[in-house]
Structures are given as structure tokens and as C-alpha cells.
Subunit: 413 residues, 2 copies
């Protein structure tokens, strides 16, 4: 297979494609699905959703994180996903004290990926404060690092532990400019550059975040990162919903990645990113399941184009099927430090699934990416192992059972 | 079951819900899926898409319409849909001459629904012209009626033929204010009112349509319909994307239905309707698969709320899960003249499907409507007949085979 150009082929009654990458995930949030959709006393927003997420964080222990992550990854695999970028920011015990093994929870998530058999790029995420002039919420205690050094020590510990595991890559993230002030963001980005690690960061997802950044620095988040020299081709900006034309140019000039997470962004009311303009400027795209509000990897990919059609009131605006296929496979793998292995994993679809029935052989990518749902998935192979057969993960009954037991223990069902 | 209040219940390892209604479909357009996603020489738009659709229309014969519709309806059934509103406007032979049996093509579509076993509300659609001061395109010849009388004769013929079929209802539609001038629209609406039939109409989908209506009448489409007394609780406005506050009020005051078709509207770049404002004003909602660009009935339903979150940048804006469940079931059945039977059909989901695994018993509608994909569907029962078993339509192999053969005959694969 061409090392940069993914393709989809028909083989008898099956359609074969490279594995899909979801470059931005918070696996534990899978447990929130269907539990945040009612109005509270106040109007709903990203911030009221965050309160529910923090309440879940306070309940988690390593076993729960393992069980929920395992369910989340098995579901992704059953949707054709073979590689996950986990933006991991729940590090410590409920009181904020590090575990005896400082990377206990990161390892629980990695163990879940290993058990499912998907590749994982674990982005060890720095989080230093609640925000500019903001008090820490109880739910945030488990995220907080005391400084740059322990963050980098964790990264090095994880890199050493998983150096020989072909399923695992390690990267670095700054949670957001809210949670990681400018100087520390620069220091982390510098470290990532030296170590040739991906460097991920939530940027410009919510308008309140822009206001806070303007209040503290007199600059918008991406504007600040551009000035600070943080943007490069290893930078992965998550969301990038609210940008000025100059910020779009800066991401494009740096050949940075922008990771769109449309199913979550729809759920959280983030708004509509200017996807066509980002592509035009030279930014590379990838996609992420983010909060696991839904887990249809095909919908996640086509939404990149479809939601930009809603914004622009035109068709064919951001990406046609070949570009969508690239960003969903090669692009995503590159963005999470697994660019060298994307061609090794594959997904086989049932050609007679109603979603893709009688697609044109000369437009297979169009038929699959605009038509498929997870029901079309037949077999998934990662690193030579078949992890999904006839659409079901090979260990699904045990994974589902453990997930149910865990949610019961957490009094969520 | 309460005759107006649908509910979802758990029964062991299954989750049981009422059948879903898709109130607006053009079944033959299923054959376009994955074949309209490339840029032509010009920039893409609704209008360039329409050119591709007209090219397909010119190829169709009754057998092809049957085979494609059958595939489209089987796919819908496998997504939990038990009732379809077919907005049927391809009436005549390729030269524009009526068939010997004038309702030949409508009957081919109805036969497809009967063969699949889903209910159908066949909206016999009037189409008198290409538009204000517009030449007829070749692809439009098959749509054109010579006057009101043959339209109503067709409606009466269809009503007589299917009077005793519990799967079939007949209604009336005016294609759009483009295709049906004001006086004819008024006459058709008056007939529908006398006969107590649903009256469907595409309204305000595209901005060019507003311009044309303003040029001809000095009024926008919904404004014109309101003044003309066409809006009532039997009126079903399809799309209603571009409205003024007064037009929203008019639809609400009439208790009219607005049928959102988000997966198609996303595909066609229609823009974002003001859903929350429509609900607030008193309009009732339903959903439609429209062009069959995709066929995930759960995505169609949740998109009503999710796309309004993208527009408003807030959560919980248009409809919570109980309202979504109503509009996806009772509302849709009512909108296509099948309101009396909605409670007779049901869909059983696999409770262990990853999309809905471990949903809360007190939030079943939230878990299902925000989390399910077609993979969750187990059994579908319509009018006492089991038409889907273990997620697959009971006649799927033959239906798929006939669809493939038909597309080959039309040189589409």
C-alpha cells in the first residue's frame, strides 16, 4: 500500500479499507452518554455539562477507568476504529494526591486499549489551574499537576514502560490555555519538539474561553500560541471552533493539525468551525470522538464536510471523499504519533450492508464515508490480530458485563 | 399504551419502543447515495445536485422505481422505521405522457412499501411548472401535471384502490411555490381540508427559492401561504429552513407541522433551521429521510436538537428526549395521515448494543435517541407482521439482489 495514500478496495462481497483513527478521546466520558441530555434548573451549556462530567470524575477509581475505557474502545473498534488518541487528564486520587505509581490511571487506560487490541496514543495532559483568577472546583483536583517537572517525569516513565509495545505511543498535551498558562505551554511545547512527540491542546472551543484569554493576555488563544511559537506541524489543536482569519492563517502556515470532534461539538453546542478556510490555509485535519456522546466513526468523518455545508450553505466545501479518507486514517495516525503504522491495520465491511449497498466501484470512498454506519463493519484487524469478527468485538460479552457491573457499582444504573 | 404519549421500556435484554416514522421521503433518490459527492466543474450547490437527480429521473421505469424504493424502505425498516411519508412527484413516462394507468408509478412505490411491510403515506404531489419565468428542464417532464383536475383524480383513484389496506394512506402535496403557483396551491389545500388529508409542501429550503417567490409575489413563501390561508394543523411544511420571525409565528399559530430532514439538509447545504423558535411558537415537528443521503433514523431524530445546538451555541434548546420521541413516532404518523395506528407498530432493540449499553432505566429515551445506531435494531413489527429479525429484513437477500440488478441495468454500477 502507498505509504501516504489510503485507498478502499472491493474484494468479492467485502470492502476493505485502512483502520480509522480517532485522534481525540476522553474514554471515561463514555459513561455519561444519555445522562446529560435533560435541562437542569438553568439553561444548558458546555459549562453545565462540565459540572456533570466533574461529578463522574469524583467517583472514578482505576478499576472503573479501566472498565469504562475498555467499553469505549471496544465500541470504537466495532465502528472501524483501530487507533485512539487519548487526551488523558485524570491523573491523581480523589483528594488530588498522586497514586503511589504516579501513572496508575494512564496505565489503566492503556491497559484497556491493550485488552481491546486497538492502538493508543496516550497524550499525557498537563493541567495546572482552573483558569485565570478562578477557584479550583472539587472535580478538578484529580487533574492538577504541581509543575512542569512531574508532568515530564510521567511522560518519560510512560515512554520507558511502553517503548516496546507496538500498540502504544506516548505524547504530550496542555489541557487548554485556561488550565496551562502561557509560559508553561511554551515549555511543554519545547519539550515535545525536542522529543518529537505530538503536542495536543484544546483551543477556541467555547467563546468564554476566548474572553478569559483576552482578559489575561490581551490575545485570543490561537493568536497567543502563534506569537509564542507553539504552532508547528506537531501541534494538534482540538476543536478550533472560534478563530479569526489571522488565526486560521497561522494554523495553516504552521501545517498544524486541527482535530474536529463534530459529534461532541454538536452535543456541547460548541458552534461551527470554519473548516473550508482551515483547509484552504493549509491546516491538516483529523477527527476525534472526544466525549463519546456518540460512537459512529463514519458519521464523525462525514460531519467534517457536512457541517461545513450547513455553515456555508453550499456543497463540496471542505473535503471530498479522498481527503476525508486521508484525514480519517493517515492523518489521525500521524496526529497521535502512530504515523508509521497506519497501513498495517485494516477494516473489512460487508458490501451488502444497506448503508453501502451497490456503491460504485469508482467511488468506493464516497459510498463508504457518506453511507456507512457501524452496522457495515465485519472484521477489524490491528497489528495482525483480528479484534472484531462479524461486527462484534471478540471479547465483547466480558467487556459489556464488566461495564455494566462498574456502572452499577458507581450507582449510575 | 397511551394514545398520545409514546414510551420506551426495558424487557429483559431487549428495549422496546414504538415504530419510527419518516414523514418525508423520495425513495428513488436512494440510488444517488455516494454518487453526488464530487465537485463538478462549478462549485457545488443544491442546484448542481438537482441536475444529477434529474439525470436519474430520466432513466427510471416502473420496475426500477419499485426495486429502488423497496431497497430504500427495507433499509429504513432495518433502522427502526415503520411508516414512511413518500412525497411522490415522478408521475409520467419519460416523454411526459401519463401512463395508461395514470397512477402506475405511485402504485410501484406503494407496492414496494407493501412488499417490505412498512406503512406508507403516499403524498400525491402536484407540479405544474419549472418556476416563475423558467423553462422546463428535460428531467422535469415526468413531474408535470396539466391542471388541478388530473391531480385530484389521481388522489381519488389512489384512495379508492387502497381504502382497505391498513398499510396505506393517501395525502396531497404541492411540490413548492416554485412549481405550484399561488392559486393552485390554495385550491389543493382547500381540497385537502375538505377531504381531511395531510397537505405537504417544500417551503423555504433554499434562498434562491425565496428570491424567486419575492420576485413573483412580493412575498416570501411561508408569508404567502399564511396570507392565503393555507396554513393549518394539516399543513406539513418540509424544511422551513429560512424563515422570518413572522413566518415562524404563522406556522406556530396554525399548529402546522414542520418536517426537518437534517441528514439531507446537511448534505445539500440547506443551512440551519431555527428549530427552537419554531417549537416555541407552537409548530409541531416531525422528521424525514428525504433524499436517503443517509439512512440512520436515530441520527435523523437527534439531529433536530443537535443541529440547533450548533446554531445557538447552547444545549437543550429545541427538544429533550421525550419530545424527540413524540415527534419521531406519533408526530410523524400524524403528519402522514396514519395518526390512528402509531401505537400498533413496534421496534425492539438489543439492550447490549454498544451504542446504548447500560442506559439508565429512568432515561431510556435519552439513551436510545442520543446513542443508538441502526446496529441496535433487533426486531421490527408492523401491523402484526415481523418484518425485521435480528436486525435484517426478512426478505433482504432478494431485495438487495433486485436492487443490484436494477442499478446494473441503469448503468450505475
Amino acid at each position: 500500500m502507498d505509504t501516504q495514500k489510503p485507498s478502499i478496495t472491493r474484494q468479492g462481497d467485502r470492502i476493505v479499507m485502512p483502520g480509522l483513527a480517532t485522534a481525540h478521546s476522553h474514554a471515561f466520558q463514555r459513561a455519561l452518554r444519555g445522562r446529560t441530555q435533560r435541562r437542569a434548573t438553568q439553561a444548558g451549556s458546555f459549562w453545565s455539562w462540565r459540572g456533570l462530567m466533574y461529578a463522574l470524575v469524583e467517583k472514578l477509581d482505576p478499576e472503573a477507568i479501566f472498565a469504562i475505557s475498555q467499553m469505549a474502545f471496544a465500541e470504537l473498534a466495532m465502528s472501524g476504529v483501530t487507533a485512539v488518541g487519548e487526551f488523558h487528564y485524570v491523573h491523581h486520587g480523589p483528594d488530588g494526591q498522586p497514586y503511589a505509581n504516579r501513572t496508575e490511571l494512564a496505565e489503566a487506560v492503556i491497559r484497556a486499549a491493550q485488552a481491546v487490541g486497538v492502538r493508543i496514543g496516550l497524550m499525557r495532559t498537563a493541567y495546572f489551574r482552573a483558569g485565570y483568577q478562578k477557584e479550583l472546583a472539587a472535580g478538578q483536583r484529580r487533574f492538577i499537576d504541581s509543575g512542569i517537572e512531574p508532568v515530564l517525569a510521567d511522560v518519560e516513565q510512560l515512554m520507558a514502560r511502553y517503548a516496546n509495545d507496538p500498540l502504544v505511543a506516548v505524547g504530550l498535551a496542555a489541557h487548554s490555555i485556561r488550565a496551562v498558562p502561557r509560559e508553561q505551554t511554551i515549555a511543554l511545547a519545547e519539550y515535545a519538539r525536542q522529543q518529537r512527540l505530538p503536542f495536543h491542546m484544546h483551543v477556541a472551543e467555547q467563546r468564554a474561553e476566548l474572553e478569559e484569554c483576552l482578559a489575561e493576555y490581551g490575545r485570543r488563544p490561537v493568536e497567543l500560541l502563534a506569537e509564542a511559537g507553539v504552532l508547528d506541524d506537531r501541534f494538534v489543536g482540538i476543536h478550533a471552533t472560534h478563530l479569526t482569519p489571522d488565526e486560521i492563517e497561522a494554523l495553516g502556515a504552521a501545517r498544524a493539525f486541527v482535530c474536529l470532534c463534530r459529534t461532541t461539538e454538536r452535543d456541547l453546542g460548541d458552534g461551527l468551525p470554519e473548516t473550508a478556510a482551515l483547509v484552504q490555509a493549509g491546516a491538516r485535519l483529523c477527527v476525534g470522538v472526544d466525549s463519546h456522546a456518540g460512537s459512529d466513526a463514519f458519521e464523525e468523518v462525514r460531519a467534517v464536510e457536512l457541517d461545513d455545508r450547513s455553515r456555508t450553505e453550499a456543497r463540496h466545501v471542505a473535503a471530498e471523499a479522498p481527503e476525508l479518507l486521508w484525514l480519517a486514517t493517515v492523518g489521525g495516525y500521524q496526529a497521535i504519533g502512530l504515523g508509521a503504522v497506519w497501513a498495517e491495520d485494516r477494516v473489512t465491511l460487508k458490501a451488502d450492508d444497506p448503508g453501502i449497498a451497490a456503491v460504485s466501484d469508482n467511488l468506493l470512498a464516497d459510498g463508504v464515508l457518506f453511507g456507512a454506519t457501524p452496522r457495515a463493519v465485519d472484521v477489524v484487524v490491528v497489528n495482525g490480530q483480528m479484534i472484531v469478527q462479524d461486527g462484534v468485538h471478540v471479547h465483547y460479552p466480558e467487556i459489556y458485563q464488566m461495564y455494566q457491573t462498574t456502572l452499577r457499582r458507581l450507582h449510575m444504573v
